[in-house]
């Protein structure tokens, strides 16, 4: 329980005073005369002793551990939890500002009912009883017609099962997440290749990192924990970092080499490098032979088509650079790649993700010190029984034309409902702002405005975001500092479970979503006749979360829920353990009991219809979490649906046809913001509040565009007028715009002056809050993963036209529709009859398979199959 990482020792008489602020989280003094300067602890300017309450952060979704210092019932300050194995006592810029969410002067603190037309901004305060009675009545009505017509759309849902418990109890499978606009292509590729949906590279002990388009220094999974280790690796272990990215990110800045490339070509660069590694005789042929489902010879022959010269033609990265980096990567010692959304959220993203994974396969850098490793997480339970049965899946959730898209196709939902694919009677929105965060946001606006398509709309929200403005009723949610959740993320080689607990009572009449749902269930089914209430009989939110966490193996013996309430996380960070972590999970021998009753199919050991192990040179080992237990270089399931089973590069059709004056639009997350949930936090907004479009100086010059001048960006579905940031830090064919700016709502600091925070009233020095690009980004989709092609939009950029005003955006409804149809035209050719209940057997088979593979290696998915089983991170 002591933090030993930092050893700041000081002498001095002041040390005595420090003991009074001694924290259960900090270090203990080694001796009375010697005092270490502790990393964390409270020193309130008032001199009052603060309560110290651990919590799990949720400003973004890394789930770092923190400690809240509470003085007179108010959160004075947040700090990192030094016991946390992920973030080791550090918080990022966002985390340090997290409590501003609680005291956001525009927070909604009472239930609100719409009294004007939708979106008019006219509301009246109502009581919780009135609000819940109304929502319950609407849900009862919809249940009587068709429970599937009750839709739940969530985004950053960290309830770990509660949304599904609720919707399953109502009998509706019409639940939609947001993973298709996040990183689902990466997940789908990884699941089919090796089982889990993410990697945990051993950055601290590696010698070489090839980063394809991720921006770990600013965002990505797991920004804070991973960049700490990456910097340790770079500075202490002298690892080389090479970043492929069309934009010079802060990760590019700290890289030894920044290699800009044309978007959506990471895959061909990676495959050409794999080709070089095999041709040069630098491959780990033993790993390929033992642990993949191809031979080194087959693979070498297959990769020959991806020459460095071809890769140069596609990507703009010289063949010489590709050869050099390939050889460096293969000979550096332990090495790893890293990717997140940048390379995979293209229409060819699944192929790209597999291609970059292949670099680790051909060099045998899988599951070893300093390598590209399986995620380790601890799981928790599904909460108190009984559990409602699973209703059929909605075709909005699993459209049959995307048979491999196991993480939903959320960005198709607006168009699909508008075209009448499924009838919705009640729409519920939770932690999601589709008008802002989804592509083609105006189609979402059209949908949420339409009382024909969405007859009744509920938003569970902490503030008036752009989508909540279109709700019929708003049920004020609490912030992450006023609620209960279990958490676990594979953000360190050492798995952990964490607790999110209320550090203060909810402000005003805000109610935690968990409590709202519980009470709503009682209102919907007061006498139990609808069969809903029995699943909501566990009492408090705390007891539910306690039940989930106490299912974690080993936690009870270590102190159970009480320990988590006191320390926030279990087990505690242990540097020695992490530095000496033993990888090689795939080589682990099966035990006698594992082996009992198994049969052999090829090299795969089967038990009860499931694959459990792999035979390697006469030894039965665990292998990987795939149906064959190998690392699947060849994915037979992809071939089944007409996709390429072997490592593949698929150029983007639109990019092949680009005219010489056309460019590509890219978006990015700056280091001090999340996608959409932080412009209401003044300290973050001050650091980044506007988002001029990055454009290369040559590109700007050719168009007569000067720095900070007005420009018009035209996409296939519309145009926007913004300002140019002329820079050398971007590929000449790419224009990049930051997200988190361009919000028109009053919660955004800089948009309004009517707040009670005197600091904001008196000292806000900016009124430019940027222009958001999503309205002009059309829907496009990876036909395998079902993920959004975020960085594929072909645009033209000109000086602004006469009459153009900063902030103008326009989208064409017909063109937006056409873009959606174009995306669909590339999907697998299976369309449904339009019956929401008519889900194919394939969908269910897929679900089960993912539940199974998710269970391998004790990833977080293991105990979470009650929910979206593979959604470790989204």
């Amino acid at each position: 329980m002591q933090l030993k990482r930092r050893k700041f020792i000081q002498l001095g008489s002041a040390a005595g005073a420090a003991l009074t602020v001694g924290s259960q989280f900090g270090m203990k003094a080694k001796a009375a005369a010697l005092m270490e300067l502790k990393q964390t602890g409270s020193a309130s300017p008032t001199g009052k002793k603060n309560q110290e309450i651990p919590y799990t952060c949720l400003t973004c979704n890394i789930e770092d551990g923190g400690i809240a210092y509470v003085e007179d019932g108010r959160i004075r300050r947040l700090e990192g939890n030094p016991n946390h194995p992920g973030n080791r006592g550090k918080l990022c810029a966002k985390g340090n500002a997290g409590h501003l969410h609680v005291y956001d002067p525009t927070r909604i603190l009472n239930p609100l009912k719409r009294i004007g037309p939708r979106g008019s901004g006219k509301w009246k305060r109502i009581s919780w009883d009135e609000a819940l009675s109304e929502v319950a009545g609407k849900i009862q009505g919809a249940m009587d017609i068709d429970p599937m017509s009750i839709m739940f759309q969530y985004g950053r849902n960290r309830t770990h099962g509660l949304v599904y418990r609720f919707m399953n109890a109502l009998g509706s499978g019409t639940v939609n997440n947001h993973t298709s606009i996040c990183e689902c292509n990466k997940k789908v590729a990884m699941e089919h290749a090796w089982g889990p949906d993410i990697e945990t590279p051993d950055f601290a002990h590696t010698k070489y990192i090839l980063n394809f388009g991720s921006n770990l220094a600013e965002a990505a999974y797991f920004h804070n924990p991973y960049i700490q280790r990456l910097i340790d690796g770079k500075v202490e272990n002298k690892a080389k970092l090479v970043t492929f990215d069309p934009r010079m990110t802060n990760t590019g800045a700290i890289s030894d080499e920044w290699v800009p490339l044309k978007p959506a070509t990471d895959g061909i660069v990676a495959l050409a490098m794999c080709n070089v590694i095999l041709q040069e005789g630098l491959a780990d042929t033993e790993f390929i032979r033992k642990y993949t489902n191809v031979t080194a010879h087959q693979l070498a022959e297959h990769l020959k088509q991806f020459s460095p010269e071809f890769a140069e033609k596609e990507s703009g990265v010289s063949a010489d650079t590709i050869r050099r980096i390939a050889i460096e990567f293969a000979t550096a010692g332990p090495a790893t790649t890293y990717t997140y959304r940048g390379s995979s959220m293209h229409q060819n993203g699944v192929y790209t993700e597999k291609a970059t994974m292949m670099l680790n396969v051909v060099t045998g850098n899988i599951e070893k010190r300093g390598g590209f490793n399986l995620p380790r997480g601890l799981g928790f339970g599904g909460g108190p029984g009984p559990h409602p049965p699973k209703p059929p899946h909605s075709i909005l959730k699993y459209p049959p034309e995307y048979p491999l898209a196991s993480h939903h196709v959320s960005h198709h939902v607006s168009h699909s409902i508008l075209e009448g694919r499924q009838k919705i009677n009640v729409f519920m929105l939770y932690c999601h702002n589709p008008l802002y965060t989804q592509p083609d946001g105006d189609t979402w606006k059209e949908l949420l405005s339409s009382e024909k398509h969405i007859p009744y709309s509920v938003s569970f929200s902490i503030n008036m975001d752009s989508s909540t403005e279109y709700a019929d009723i708003i049920l004020p949610d609490t912030t992450f500092l006023e609620r209960w959740d279990p958490e676990s993320m594979p953000s360190s080689a050492l798995g952990w479970v964490g607790l999110r607990q209320p550090v203060i009572k909810p402000l005003g009449n805000a109610k935690a979503f968990r409590d709202t749902i519980y009470e709503l269930a009682q209102k919907i089914d007061p006498d139990g006749k609808r069969g809903v209430k029995k699943y909501f009989s566990y009492g408090s939110a705390e007891s539910y979360v306690k039940n989930q966490l106490e299912a974690t193996p080993g936690l009870k013996a270590a102190g159970g829920f009480k320990l988590l309430k006191k320390y926030g996380v279990w087990p505690f960070y242990d540097k020695k353990k992490e530095d000496n972590f033993k990888f090689g999970a795939h080589e682990e021998a099966l035990s006698e009991s594992d082996l009992a009753g198994t049969t052999l199919e090829g090299r795969t050991l089967m038990k009860g219809g499931k694959s459990v192990g792999l035979m390697v040179d006469g030894k039965a080992v665990r292998g990987f979490g795939t149906p064959s237990r190998t690392f699947q270089v060849n994915v037979p399931e992809w071939e089944h649906y007409g996709f390429e089973p072997m490592p593949h590069y698929e150029p983007i059709e639109d990019h092949k046809r680009m005219k010489s004056d056309e460019l590509l639009l890219s978006t990015y997350k700056p280091n001090v913001h999340t996608q959409s949930r932080t412009p209401n936090l003044k300290w973050l907004q001050e650091l980044h509040h506007r988002n001029p479009a990055w454009i290369n100086s040559e590109t700007a010059k050719a168009r007569g565009i000067g720095d900070d001048e007005l420009i018009r960006i035209t996409s296939p579905i519309g145009y926007m007028v913004t300002k140019a940031r002329v820079t050398e830090a971007i590929h000449p064919q790419v224009v990049a715009i930051a997200t988190s700016s361009g919000m028109t709502n009053k919660a955004t600091v800089g948009n309004y002056g009517g707040t009670k925070d005197p600091d904001i009233v008196q000292n806000t020095w900016w009124d430019d809050t940027g222009v958001h690009p999503n309205q002009i980004i059309p829907v496009s989709t990876d036909p395998i993963g079902g993920g959004m092609g975020w960085f594929d939009t072909v645009i033209t950029v000109t000086k602004a036209k006469a009459g153009d005003k900063y902030g103008d955006t326009h989208s064409d409804r017909g063109a937006a529709r056409k873009a959606f149809e174009k995306a669909l035209s590339k999907a697998t050719k299976v369309r449904d009859s339009g019956d929401a209940h008519n889900t194919t057997a394939k969908t269910n088979v897929r679900d089960e398979r993912h539940t199974e593979v998710g269970g391998v290696f004790g990833t977080t998915a293991k105990l979470r199959d009650f929910e979206d089983p593979h959604n470790t991170t989204a």
């Binding site: 020193a43 340090n96 910097i231 010079m248 802060n250 700290i254 000292n763």
Partner: protein, 217 residues
């Protein structure tokens, strides 16, 4: 008898990722108003595509041995700013205000001091003296994700800051000013070596947009 305590901070530029956690933690810890900052992360960018370099330079009060802010105080107000025995440069809010504060702010060759917009008093980084006195690291050090900030007693040979300085080459900003800073940098020479001196402060969207000075190690 142990040597007198002397606090110093080392910032290793090789470990800075430009994340700005130091900036928001400082705002939160010290209740710093919008529009002013006790610490900055300057982003320096130079080169022609694709040969670009970008580097982060965190700046804060140097807690100089010969504080120029103190030297600039008008006669009769010499005690408005104090160099503590442990090296931390602090100010007296009751005295360091108005014209007195203006003179001190003007006197800092690093532009690291400013006026509190409402209180009209002198402000700058004080190494989180209230935390240090309570046995805690300054807020920016505590939260530094890259582990770029090392703080402690340079007179204590067992301290991390002593050891870091003993094993790394360090430089200070503007040594020619003769103020003898106690905020040291590792790899400051990268700014000259990578031709970043005189480069533009970036990005222009930021509050950190200040004309960059010619930093020479």
């Amino acid at each position: 008898m142990a040597k007198k305590k002397k606090y110093a901070m080392v910032i290793d530029i090789n470990r800075c990722i430009g994340c700005k956690a130091c900036m928001t933690s400082c705002k939160a810890e010290n209740d710093v108003p919008l529009g002013v900052f006790r610490n900055h992360v300057r982003e320096l960018e130079k080169g022609i595509y694709p040969n670009m370099k970008k580097i982060f330079l965190p700046v804060l009060c140097n807690h100089c041995d010969k504080p120029a802010c103190k030297a600039a105080l008008p006669e009769g107000y010499e005690d408005a700013i104090t160099k503590r025995d442990d090296g931390i440069v602090v100010w007296d809010e009751a005295k360091c205000k108005g014209k007195v504060a203006e003179a001190a702010i003007e006197g800092c060759p690093y532009s690291n001091a400013f006026m509190h917009p409402q209180k009209n008093v002198f402000q700058k980084c004080d190494y989180c003296v209230h935390r240090v006195d309570a046995g805690l690291q300054p807020a920016c050090v505590s939260t530094c994700i890259g582990g770029a900030r090392i703080f402690g007693d340079v007179n204590d040979s067992t301290s991390d800051v002593f050891k870091y300085m003993a094993t790394h080459s360090t430089h200070v900003l503007k040594p020619e000013e003769g103020t003898t800073p106690n905020t040291y940098y590792v790899a400051l020479d990268r700014i000259t070596a990578e031709r970043l001196e005189g480069s533009q402060q970036l990005p222009p969207t930021d509050a950190t947009e200040i004309a960059v000075e010619n930093f020479s190690g």
